[in-house]
Subunit: 153 residues, 2 copies
Amino acid sequence: MNTQTENNSLLTEPLIKFFRGRNFAFLGTLNKDGSPQVTPTWIDIEEKDHEVMIIVNTAMDRIKQKNVSRDPRVSISIVDEDNPYSMVTIKGRVIEQTTEGADDHIDKLAKKYLNTERYPAHSPNVKRIILKIKPGKIFYIPPRYTEYLQKIK
Amino acid sequence: MNTQTENNSLLTEPLIKFFRGRNFAFLGTLNKDGSPQVTPTWIDIEEKDHEVMIIVNTAMDRIKQKNVSRDPRVSISIVDEDNPYSMVTIKGRVIEQTTEGADDHIDKLAKKYLNTERYPAHSPNVKRIILKIKPGKIFYIPPRYTEYLQKIK
C-alpha cells in the first residue's frame, strides 16, 4: 500500500468510475425536523490543493440547498450504470457553497449527462449554486451478480 | 409540472411504473448521530386492507435496519430506468418489521430483479427482515429531456 489517503482514492479506480459515467448520485440531507431527504442529482468531482471535493450543482432555495445550509452532513449513494450491484456510499460534509462559476458548471454537467452544450433549464428565476462536499468515510461494493445481469439484458 | 398526490395513487399510473420495473430505490435513514444515510435497495409494494405499503427486504442488524428501529422516518427516491429524469420521492415511516415470510419475499424480489428463482445470497448467518413503510408525502416529476436521451442511447 502507498500513502494514499481515503479521499484521494476517489480519483483512482475503481471509485473514479462512478464519477466518470452518467451515474446519478442520490444525496441524503436533513430536513428541518431532522428527517431524511433523498434527492437524485448530477455529480462531479474536483481536485484542488491536493484535496478531492465532490461537487453538486443545485439552485438556491431548493430543499437540498436549504437543508445543507442548516446542517452540512450528507450521504451520497451511487450505483454503477453498468452493474447496479456495484455501489459506493460516501459520508460527507458541505464545506463551501458558491454561486461563482455555477452557470458554467451546470453547462459542463449538461455536456456530460445530456451531451448538449448548454443546460436546457437555465432560467433568470433560478440562481445556480455549487455545493462542495468534503468526503469522509467511503463504503464500496465491487460488481456482483454479473452472470444474472448478462441474462436479463 | 411537479405534482403531489395521495397515497393510493402509488398503485396507479404514472407511479406504479417505478415499482413495476427493475428500478432501485434509494432509502434515506438516520444514523445514531442524526446524520443521513442513503442505501440502494430492491423495492416492492403491497396493498392490504385498502392501505398501500412500500416494502423493503433487508437483513437484521444492517445499518438501515438498525437506523429505522431507532427512528422510523425514511425518504425513498426512485428514478425511472427508462428515463432517469422522471423521478419520485416519498416521505415515509417504517410502521412494522417482520421476519415472517421474509425469505420467500427476497426470492420474489430476486425473480423480479435478477430473473432467478432463488435469491443468490441466502445464508444461515443472515436473518432476513421485511420493513413495511407507510407512505406520506409524494413528490413526482414526469419524464423530461427525452430528446437528449434518445441521442445518447
